[in-house]
């Protein structure tokens, strides 16, 4: 019930105004047509009806203009469904309008020809003649009545003198008159006879001009019309009658016989109407043309308005569907709330709503998956950021996507400048020779590798040289789906391996070489002692020289083995509070000799250092010895010892004024068996570094053409 009421309400809302105005206009036009069919109808009602009809048409035209403007704006604003509405409305209008116009033109032609066909000369002549016949009949009748009245006046002349009322009664009977009245020459009513029983009735007065005319002797007999008491015609006979005393005026009002009235009226009416229509022919054509034009205009306007409304109703689901599609395309998944018609379009709307619901569910699922993915990504990023290894990811095009802080620190490059670009294309901007070399090595691997790979490289980051182990693996299953690079700094690991190797070498040297040296030396000395006295002088000196050489070489080897033993030995440092400045001072005192300028620049703020004094002493001994040896070609060797202390650490520096070291010396100078001296073991600085590491410190090399400094940072300064 509610649905039906709703449908009715919708129908009223959509078509009510158009229907009401159309019906009103149509009614006015029908009444206009009716009024035109009666040519003698007065214009008062015609004018009102015409105004109503024109008003209705103006309203319809306004509605149409409003609708067309709205439709046009909709088309300009690309509102969905507007173009199809316009096109369908145009088609319907054409389909309806063209037949209407054709019918209009034909109907107009027929009407105009039909009006012309009303008139012809024969009809007019016949009507005119018939009217004249009627008139002649009436004239004859009036003349007869006049004659009869005159005769009656003569016949009843005596009675008119003596008893005029009786005479008039006889005359009225003779003439079959309605009334007969007798007037004196001074217009006084003498007597009066009427067929009416109404005693209050008065005779009809004789008009002034007629009275004068008759008094002058000219009788009057004519057919006259009257409006009151009822419209009709009558014969008026007025004539002078002789009386003995004067000349009176006799008036008789004689009704027209019924057998004459109707034919006469019909003939006269027909003739009048013919005359009227003949005169109104052209105005009538104009009026009918106007009426037909108004009807056609009303039909066209109504058809247009109804068709546009119908098309709009028809395209409403399409419009809703287009809007809904746009909403979905814009990401707003809302089902359509429009009324669903009970047809294929309604089915389409329902299917669309189902589709939207499914998309919503899919989107919800995708959002959950995305959230899980984001969680996993965040989890992964956390893991990556906490890794000690550097991690880089590259997309399929080789552009850098992700990196962690460790990678930036390992490579010494601000990787944020490279995100979203191919690092190989930005090398010129980076100005980093080590990174450029690294990337030149990696690019072929990234291009070609289809599976995991790894490469070990020496990476130069300014003065620092690192050994990097780089693992690479393609991302995803598809080829060229990107790469992940994991970079590990294995410098310490390599160093540890080397140290272990050297320890093994040293241990074997000590074990395999040191033991035979003493017997060799003793045997050489015994050989010299036993054989010298049995040889001639010249050969004795040769023997002594040879055995001396053996002994010296054995001693050299002994020293070398001792050094390796020292390096290989790894005693636990026995740490205790050590006065660093005092220790350095004692070392400086120990080396004081001519040709050597050894100075101490001690920081008075230094406190005791928690360290093994013997190992520190060995450290200083190796560095001072080194410093003196590199200046052995100079007249005066200059060595400077200094300390700098703060709350956290002590920095001990040993500097010389030697020729300096090569730029890459920092990479190998602390390696075992690395030496630039012809007679060096290459273990001094390796031992120094080992002692520093035993004390959890670091050593840095600063070398230039004016000398070399070793800066040793040691933690563990105490305040006691």
């Amino acid at each position: 019930m509610a649905k039906i009421a709703g449908s009715l309400f919708n129908l009223l809302r959509q078509y009510g105004a158009i229907t009401a105005v159309s019906v009103l206009t149509l009614v006015a036009l029908v009444m206009l047509s009716q009024s035109l069919q009666q040519a003698a109808t007065f214009a008062e009602s015609y004018m009102l009806l015409l105004m109503i009809a024109i008003g209705g048409l103006v309203v319809l035209l306004t509605l149409l203009m409003r609708t067309v403007i709205k439709l046009w704006r909709s088309v300009r604003n690309h509102r969905p469904g507007s173009r199809i509405t316009l096109r369908l409305a145009g088609m319907i209008t054409t389909l309806v309008g063209v037949p209407i116009l054709i019918i209009y033109l034909f109907a107009l032609q027929f009407i105009l020809q039909g009006i012309d066909a009303w008139f012809d000369v024969k009809t007019e002549t016949a009507l005119k003649n018939a009217t004249e016949v009627v008139q002649l009949t009436f004239d004859s009748r009036s003349r007869n009545l006049l004659k009869l009245a005159r005769e009656g006046g003569t016949l009843f002349q005596n009675d008119l003198d003596t008893s005029p009322a009786v005479a008039l009664e006889k005359l009225r009977a003779l003439l079959d008159a309605e009334e007969v009245s007798l007037y004196s020459p001074d217009r006084q009513l003498i007597a009066f006879s009427s067929a009416s029983t109404d005693v209050n009735i008065l005779p009809q007065p004789i008009p002034d001009n007629l009275f004068r005319q008759v008094r002058n002797g000219q009788p009057y007999a004519a057919l006259e019309a009257r409006e009151k008491p009822a419209p009709g015609q009558f014969f008026r006979i007025v004539l002078p009658v002789e009386r003995s005393s004067d000349k009176a005026l006799l008036q008789a009002i004689v009704p027209v016989p019924d057998q004459l009235v109707k034919p006469a009226e019909t003939t006269e009416r027909a003739y009048k109407e013919y005359l009227q229509r003949a005169f109104l022919r052209e105005p009538l054509k104009t009026a009918l043309t106007l009426l037909l034009s108004l009807v056609v205009l009303m039909a066209l306007l109504s058809a247009l308005l109804f068709s546009i409304q119908l098309v709009q109703n028809f395209t409403r689901p399409i419009r809703a569907l287009t809007l809904g599609t746009r909403q979905v395309a814009a990401g707003r998944l809302k089902p359509l709330r429009d009324e669903m018609p009970d047809n294929e379009l309604g089915e389409l709307l329902r299917s669309f709503n189902n589709m939207v619901e499914q998309i919503k569910r899919a989107r919800r699922t995708a959002r959950i998956s995305h959230q899980q993915s984001e969680l996993q990504k965040s989890y992964l990023q956390t893991i990556i950021s906490t890794l000690s290894s550097g991690v880089l990811t590259l997309d399929a095009s080789g552009r850098l996507r992700l990196y962690n802080v460790q990678a930036e620190e390992l490579l010494g490059v601000q990787l944020n400048r490279l995100v979203g670009t191919r690092p190989g294309h930005r090398l010129d901007q980076l100005q980093h020779a080590g990174f450029a070399e690294l990337w030149h090595h990696l690019e072929p691997l990234l291009d070609k590798a289809a599976g995991p790979w790894q490469v070990q490289m020496t990476y130069a980051d300014g003065p620092h040289t690192r050994i990097l182990l780089i693992h690479g693996a393609p991302l995803g299953e598809q080829p060229r789906g990107g790469h992940v690079l994991v970079i590990d700094d294995i410098t310490d690991l390599i160093q540890a391996q080397r140290n272990a190797a050297w320890h093994e070498v040293a241990r074997r040297l000590a074990h395999e070489i040191k033991n035979p040296l003493t017997p060799i030396q003793l045997s050489a000395e015994r050989l010299a002692f036993k054989l010298a006295r049995h040889l001639p002088e010249s050969e004795r000196s040769l023997l002594e020289k040879l055995t001396q050489t053996i002994v010296e070489q054995v001693q050299t080897m002994q020293a070398l083995v001792d050094a390796f033993t020292d390096y290989a030995r790894a005693p636990r440092p026995e740490k205790q509070p050590v006065d660093v400045n005092a220790l350095l001072d004692s070392m400086a005192q120990l080396y004081q000799r001519p040709g050597l300028s050894l100075t101490l620049d001690a920081d008075p703020h230094c406190n005791n250092l928690h360290a093994d004094p013997n190992r520190l002493r060995q450290l200083l001994h190796n560095l001072i010895k080194n410093a003196i040896e590199v200046q052995e070609n100079q007249d005066t060797a200059t060595v400077t010892l200094s300390t700098r202390c703060d709350d956290a650490e002590v920095v001990i520096s040993v500097c010389d004024r030697g020729p300096g070291l090569p730029p890459d010396a920092a990479g190998w100078i602390f390696q075992p068996y690395a030496t630039g001296k012809p007679q060096g073991t290459g273990l001094g600085l390796a031992i120094v570094k080992k002692i520093v590491e035993e004390h959890n410190g670091t050593i840095e090399l600063a070398s230039g053409p004016n000398g070399t400094c070793f800066h040793i940072q040691l933690p563990g300064q105490t305040h006691t």
């Binding site: 007065f42 214009a43 008139q135 006269e268 009227q276 104009t286």
Partner: protein, 204 residues
């Protein structure tokens, strides 16, 4: 005084625009109708102000043609007494004290070859053989009571005004449409005025 109402060109134009019709033609050779006001007199009789009006209407050929085709024409004659005062001595005010209307119908009876003049209000009919006689009767009004003397106040200006016109609203519908833009159907004298001096009337 000869007077005729101005042709309503705007109405022709409006209809032309609205209905797409060509302008309704008017007979260029046809003489325009007119009304000549011959006199408008007033006098007092039995404490009543009476007026005599005489005018001479001249019908256009189109009107005569219509009459001879049995189409009746309706005329309206109005006589009124108007009081003229000033509000606060500045703003002119007019008030119609009384008005008398005559509705007359003139038609031609082709069967009798007579002109018939009918006073619609009184029902009185007059037949004339000649049109001029009928028109003379149509333009003659004698002893028309305008107002009672008691309605006139010395010191106030009055005018008696008369107007004669063809009532086009009572033309047959098709003819009405034609008459809209046709000056041959515009017959209106406009208001013809004569001053009334109440003091002089009282002195009489």
């Amino acid at each position: 005084m000869r007077c005729c109402k101005k042709r309503p060109e705007w109405l022709t134009l409006l209809l032309t625009v609205l209905l797409g019709f060509t302008p309704l033609p008017s007979s260029a050779n046809d003489a325009a109708p007119s009304v000549t006001m011959l006199f408008l007199h007033h006098y007092v009789e039995d404490e009543t102000v009476l007026a005599d009006l005489r005018l001479r209407p001249r019908l256009s050929t189109a009107m005569l043609d219509a009459l001879t085709h049995a189409i009746p024409l309706f005329f309206e004659t109005r006589l009124r007494l108007v009081e003229h005062t000033r509000l606060s001595g500045l703003i002119p005010l007019q008030r119609t004290i009384s008005e008398t209307r005559f509705s007359l119908r003139l038609d031609y009876l082709p069967e009798k070859r007579q002109w018939r003049l009918l006073n619609i209000d009184s029902g009185r009919v007059r037949h004339d053989d000649l049109l001029d006689e009928a028109l003379e009767t149509l333009g003659t009004y004698t002893g028309i009571p305008v107002a009672s003397m008691t309605q006139l106040h010395p010191g106030i200006a009055y005018t008696i005004e008369a107007r004669f016109r063809l009532n086009r609203n009572r033309l047959p519908a098709p003819l009405w449409l034609k008459s809209l833009g046709d000056r041959n159907w515009q017959l209106d004298s406009g208001w013809y005025r004569t001053n009334v001096d109440p003091r002089k009337l009282w002195q009489r």
